[in-house]
Symmetry: C3
Subunit: 668 residues, 3 copies
């Protein structure tokens, strides 16, 4: 458990550098990320590199005992590069090339930009790959930020055609797979196929899905060019990329296959304002963020790396105060930066790195707080980071090795499966204007967390053997392999599977699953979906549970034919809302919080997992033999974990924004 | 009264065809529409036709005793045609050509596409024009769907200039008619005139109106090319086109002049979600649809054909379950498909044809239900269609000849005048952001229906002699001919005329009517409009009626000078809300439901028509000697028509979604 | 105090002209504005002028004793000019040239259009510059209307580069000033710099700010070409331009430097519907307009001219009834046109000129009322204008000379500073989606007015010596000169300064002010801003005042470190909401009406100014020795000013829409 920070020496007078480095070290910071936007300073004119300033700044950090996370600067190609090669620009859905003057203006498919990206990566890697201060590498920055994954350039068009040909071999196979007989959409050759934009009404869903697959693969390929070069020139260093929140434009599991450690950028208040929360939630959590937004992503990104790197993750950018980019940007309550930092450690983070050391006085992000204000004074975030560093030392967790932390983190008994192609399918064909597959996934996750359960968010290819409960809130994609693994698990013992609506509904070409939904999951779920409804806002149906309590359902309903499943909860018209079939559970609709908790309480019990109804906005996380209790509410709460042995930090009484860390008795 | 279905043999294995046909016949289906999207299968490569599959599919249907409605496939030109002639594409308001990959991408004004359209129409007509199975033809599909009437191509620009020259002869005449002295908008030649797009602020209203007239005429011309060819090669068959709901982009009366029968596509739930209903109405009618949405269009399209074809209409596509294209797509309650089908027959439909026989498993409409599910199992809609077929046989109405049905249908004593140019005028200059002329028309219609009145919706050119009450809710266009006919009717007897606000306000060039509104209707209405207000949401004025009851007014208000008219209801400031002048009634504002009912109750009484306040969401329709009672509410209702003799179907007690058919005693 | 009217002889039959002129004179109208949209009639074909009709129309007006305000017709270049020089067109952010067919389609930066503008201006000025009827000139019409200040043409691009070079001399200076090291946004030459559009995410704020400065300067330069020509050919006549409401796209103080008198176009109902008022306010003020919308602009435009012309202003276009261009367009209540006219005189208008004499029957503005209806009948606005003319005569105010009126008007003791660059800064970086600097300025102004205070709205360069209270609600720009002047004033006596949040926060390049906000105002305000929050809707914090009363705060909050200031009102968490530091007051947030009134009551008291809590929607204005009492409410109110001597018009009892004019006793 280490702290880090993002730092931009090129933005500050050189005479400040040594002082900055000394204060970082004094504060307890260990890692410093640099240079991800510095191309115009590294190569001010084409082919002429200016390494001197960067050499000196790295040396300064090194001298202070800090470890450097070095970056490739490819997210911000300079103007001279754009002017020399306008074809490198991404092109929007209207055919307009994106302009210079912010960032991420490149097209992932551009061969010339890929060459430029390799060239600058190689130059930086050759220069610093063996530098003793360099501990890790970050490729580019936030792939896809500002919705830049999809580009409609000529290069993308050509790349897409080649990608399709490689996938389908013959255009007849494509026509059949997509169902192009519909509306005379048949093609006679791959060269007739354009990107799915500009159509009179919605473009063909299979066409759109394959374009998103292609675009995701282009991100993977772009990243791999860099990781290959970095591994060649800087062996033994971790290579990472910093992912974002609620971002689904490419398959993160695929990109992570080329990384040693997954990192992400955690902005709880910004995500609370800019995503799908209700107005009331945006108000309620304006200054704390929704407690499960960071947790959800921690658990998601912890699940990204595989093999020897299983469970390895960092927060690369931690919100240190108000940001600039959300619709509204409140300051966090005092104590939140500390609480968020501990929350990340509680979910197994190796490093929590703040963005940024000092607030920039200029340009687009000048209203984004740092640990310091633009005038070098320490801001609230800096105070709280210092406190965390001291607490880590005080309770001996700073010493916790990475491997141990990861191992402990992987003790969750609940797996939630998140599958990017399934998200794309629901985004392409939501069927109801507010059907957001990320929201239903998040709502299910939040209910699990409110029941005190730790959760691993995993890919559909993950090994599920260690889990007692597997939850698939939005797994639209027909997935025979996963179905087979779940069946095998259930045959072996008590593993429970919970399916959200639309599970298995679509085949790989975004057509109906064979034999109607839930397709490959039908034998498990014991149901066959006969028709579906998306429901306008305000159409809310009551659901009655065996104990007489009510929950409510909105957004979505399915009428199912039972094929072995028993109704557990019913709508007023007698149709089943939730069914059980052996160790499998199926929700025919979109439950509210009470509904998800009813369902998970039962499924967890069947799985042998204890649940509890935690106080409102209190969360617990178990990491190895420790339990971290986090109070996101505005009230003082009293809470101690079952079987606690010792309180390392805090107490049973938790003030708002309060934290307690308990050691459990060894029997647990 | 016959049932039909839309069928896509090209989308299914040929080995299913015979079974499909046999089951259609067994279910009681008589008509099968085919091939409207099959161009890529009929002509897979330029000039090479593949008739074999289509020959066999028609033969299969024929062998089962089914009658085929054959279509021209021009709504979906294939990719090879687009690539060979990109100028055929429609162009949007930003100058961007619409892309291939959905449908309706052609420009109505393209000479080359008109030639292609004629070529493929002739090919299909020659092949099947004399086929014994072919009972009727449908041209293209849903002209204008996805807002494709307006195109800004070079062909459209040239066509518009020629159209203007033909209309105005000299550009000075155009300048004068439009009032181009305003803002120096004068032209020196027709060649200076562009389409009315891309302007800094709103384009000139007369310019916009003429562009919409031109575009409407282009649809008429495009359609006529096909109907001429079809009549030549397939004499004796009905030629139709399937119109849409709440669609106003072209003048349907003009297109219908070239048809034998009008058909339309009825999707009550989709229209309820996607149009102007309030949020509360969208919730309340989510699973039944607003009861008057299908009725309104039945009555509208029944009024489209003229002469020997007067009153002839079908439902070509009847919603059979949830659809895919509305913002939200709930499933209809069980019983609604039956109720909608009977409702169409009650309004005089010759045929109700379901869209579609079987839900497609792929492509854009895969979430659109059919009578069967994609796996061939019978869906709820199929069950209810079967029930209707059996009921038709049981009560002997299947045998009802077309002519008889039409004759009976035309017994309505209330005419509501719907005038497309008037709708365009209000759309171009709404004056209040939510002034929707289709909404006020629909609200007036709904109030009439809630009073138990049958309504014919007619064009402004219709013969009005048989009507006791004529309603003009949104007839903005100055219409001296109609005024004269109304005056003559009133001189002859008791015919009452009800004018909504803005009646007669605009001349043909969308300028002020001579002598101020209501222009040509001034002598009838006995008022002169002195000023108007459009009212923001929440500004609602009370209206007091002679019986002391109150209604409320929103959206619009006019201050009028009375010129013979007497105030019937007044606003709180004493200004008249509704006035009467002999047999004419004028509403100065936009009444709520209570206001319309107050007004129509009085006007109907003056016309000698009995009204009743029907139970909420109950509707009745008289057809010849039958009364059809339809319960759209969620409660059981008891109702029987006055002077009933015999109940053919159902009973006095109507459960939700219930239907009763009564025969009246002969005295009526 | 004189009345005027806007008149379009070219739109009416010549035989009506003499009658129109006679009735204008009889009605009491003195000024007639003509010809601002008449280019196509003045020059029907290139280079061939048709002066005859204009000569005759001016002669007709002259003969009736009317004074003409002549215009340059450059807001509406005719089609032949556009076709001969398409490069003159403005270009939108997508690179699309704006089309002909409405107005204002030209680009301010186009050299060829500037030449055309000079040519037609010179032609008109030569023809009528010395005409005895011509009393004044208006340049163009409503610069920037329909958001036409920003253009992205090639000419603008070239102009911007030259403008930047002139400002920064070297591109390194620009890179440093903007902070282009951020995101590698550095340029190597001015020729690399494009307009700030089309970027992937927000363009650089300093780049955007300089583009807005450049665009504003282009308006100034465009206008100056005309004013130079007019002064040359028509010496001794006033030159003006008619500004708009809530319009901030160029710096009005800069344009006014070339004018003799400022005029503006006052549409209280339209502005009420189309700007930032809440839904409830839009309803409440639908038929009266918000009382402070006209007042705010009267006081703003009174402050525009300087030197010998200080305080000179007119209403060039006064709303005479319902308009056509707002989202909703209610008719004003009877009496409002009179009340608005008197309100303008009460704020010191020399002339109130109605738009327009007669409603046009055609084209875009046909639903815009005039003093007469299209059929020549007198409309309500005409009746009320007549009444005002008679009242002016009756109480002897028509004779009031311009100079006297202006002098009296400048007796306000409260100055509100409005700084266009500050508005641009907040618009470019609002930081909260609903942070509208014009709204907070208006809300502060309205609170001052509700306390009975007269206000001068002045530029940051204004001489502030005569003011006891200076208010800066949204002065984001660091302004050392203003700070120094305020400090000097305070050193001299009791001048109080009230700073809204964000005061002085940004330097000239829209970067952080040195030493953190409020930058140059820090010594005055005695605070240092440590962090800021923008607050989503519904997050409202209570503010407690010394008297125990509560107000509430929304939109924005700052945490400040006090550097001498004392907290006056606090949030519940104890942080200061409002602070006082000697004669300076600082609001850390966005107060509600109660909060502003609490703050201003105290600051006014400290300044020695008496305040009163006026009855709701009552307003008073003092002009010289007169007090004008205006009742915008829907209730009868009793009110008389302190120290009144005589009631010239009206009475102590004011009915809704009522007005009273009092003479004060000489002691005051």
């Amino acid at each position: 458990m280490q702290l880090g920070v993002c730092y931009y020496p090129e933005q500050w007078p050189e005479e400040w550098w040594a002082d900055d480095a000394a204060r970082m070290a004094a504060m307890g910071i260990r890692y410093v990320r640099i240079a991800e936007f510095a191309w115009s300073r590294i190569e001010p004119t084409p082919g002429e590199f200016d390494w001197a300033w960067l050499d000196r700044s790295i040396a300064t950090l090194h001298a202070a005992g800090l470890r450097v996370v070095m970056c490739t600067p490819t997210a911000t190609p300079p103007k001279w590069l754009v002017d020399s090669d306008p074809a490198m620009l991404a092109v929007d859905a209207n055919g307009q090339a994106r302009g210079f003057g912010s960032r991420r203006h490149y097209c992932f498919s551009s061969p010339s930009y890929r060459a430029q990206s390799a060239r600058i990566t190689e130059a930086v890697a050759q220069r610093y790959g063996q530098h003793p201060a360099v501990a890790a590498w970050q490729t580019d920055n936030e792939y896809g930020c500002h919705l830049t994954v999809l580009s409609y350039s000529q290069a993308a068009r050509q790349g897409f055609r080649a990608w399709l040909q490689a996938k389908y071999i013959t255009v007849d196979a494509l026509n059949t797979a997509w169902g192009n007989v519909f509306w005379s959409q048949e093609y006679r050759s791959f060269d007739e196929i354009d990107p799915p934009v500009g159509t009179v009404t919605e473009a063909h869903p299979a066409h759109r899905l394959d374009y998103r697959r292609f675009a995701s693969d282009e991100v993977v390929a772009f990243n791999r060019i860099q990781t290959d070069i970095l591994r060649q020139h800087s062996p033994g260093r971790d290579v990472t990329h910093n992912f974002m929140g609620f971002f689904t434009e490419f398959d993160h599991h695929d990109v992570a296959a080329d990384l040693d450690v997954a990192t992400w950028d955690s902005y709880p208040l910004g995500f609370t304002q800019d995503f799908f929360l209700s107005s009331l939630e945006k108000q309620r959590y304006a200054r704390t963020g929704h407690p499960d937004i960071p947790a959800f992503h921690h658990d998601l990104y912890r699940g990204l790396c595989t093999g020897a790197n299983k469970g390895r993750w960092w927060v690369m950018e931690q919100q240190p105060g108000p940001v600039n980019w959300a619709q509204w940007n409140p300051a966090p309550l005092d104590g939140m930066v500390r609480l968020w930092t501990w929350q990340a450690f509680a979910h197994g983070a190796e490093v929590v790195s703040y963005f940024r050391w000092r607030q920039a006085p200029f340009a687009q992000e000048q209203m984004h707080a740092g640990l310091h204000r633009p005038d070098r004074s320490l801001d609230q975030g800096g105070l709280e980071a210092t406190q965390v560093a001291q607490e880590l030392l005080a309770i001996g967790l700073a010493a916790t090795g990475d491997a141990a932390a990861n191992a402990s983190a992987s003790q969750a008994r609940v797996a939630l499966v998140l599958d990017y192609p399934s998200l794309w399918m629901a985004q392409i064909q939501p069927q109801g204007a507010d059907y957001n597959p990320m929201e239903i996934t998040f709502r299910a996750y939040s209910a699990l967390r409110q029941l005190g359960l730790d959760v691993d968010i995993v890919s559909s290819r993950a090994d599920l053997k260690s889990y007692a409960l597997v939850v698939l809130p939005a797994h639209l994609r027909e997935d025979a392999a996963l179905a087979a693994r779940l069946a095998a698990l259930q045959a072996d013992g008590t593993a429970q599977a919970v399916f959200g609506p639309r599970a298995g509904a679509k085949n790989q070409a975004l057509s109906f699953a064979d034999g109607l939904p839930p397709g490959a999951f039908a034998a498990l779920a014991g149901v066959r979906v006969q028709r579906v409804s998306s429901l306008p806002p305000g159409v809310v149906d009551a659901v009655r549970w065996p104990d007489g309590s009510l929950s409510s359902n909105s957004h979505w309903r399915e009428d199912v034919q039972t094929q072995g499943a028993q109704a557990l909860a019913n709508f007023d018209d007698g149709r089943p809302a939730v069914l059980r079939h052996g160790s499998s559970w199926y929700s025919t609709g979109w439950p509210d919080e009470a509904g998800w908790k009813q369902l998970f309480t039962r499924a967890a019990a069947a799985a042998g997992l204890a649940t509890q109804d935690l106080p409102e906005d209190l969360r617990t996380s178990r990491l190895g033999n420790h339990v971290f209790v986090q109070n996101f509410s505005s009230s003082t709460v009293h809470y101690a974990p079952v079987n606690h042995a010792q309180c390392l930090l805090g107490a049973r009484e938790l003030a708002p924004q309060g934290l307690a860390i308990w050691k459990l008795s060894p029997s647990i």
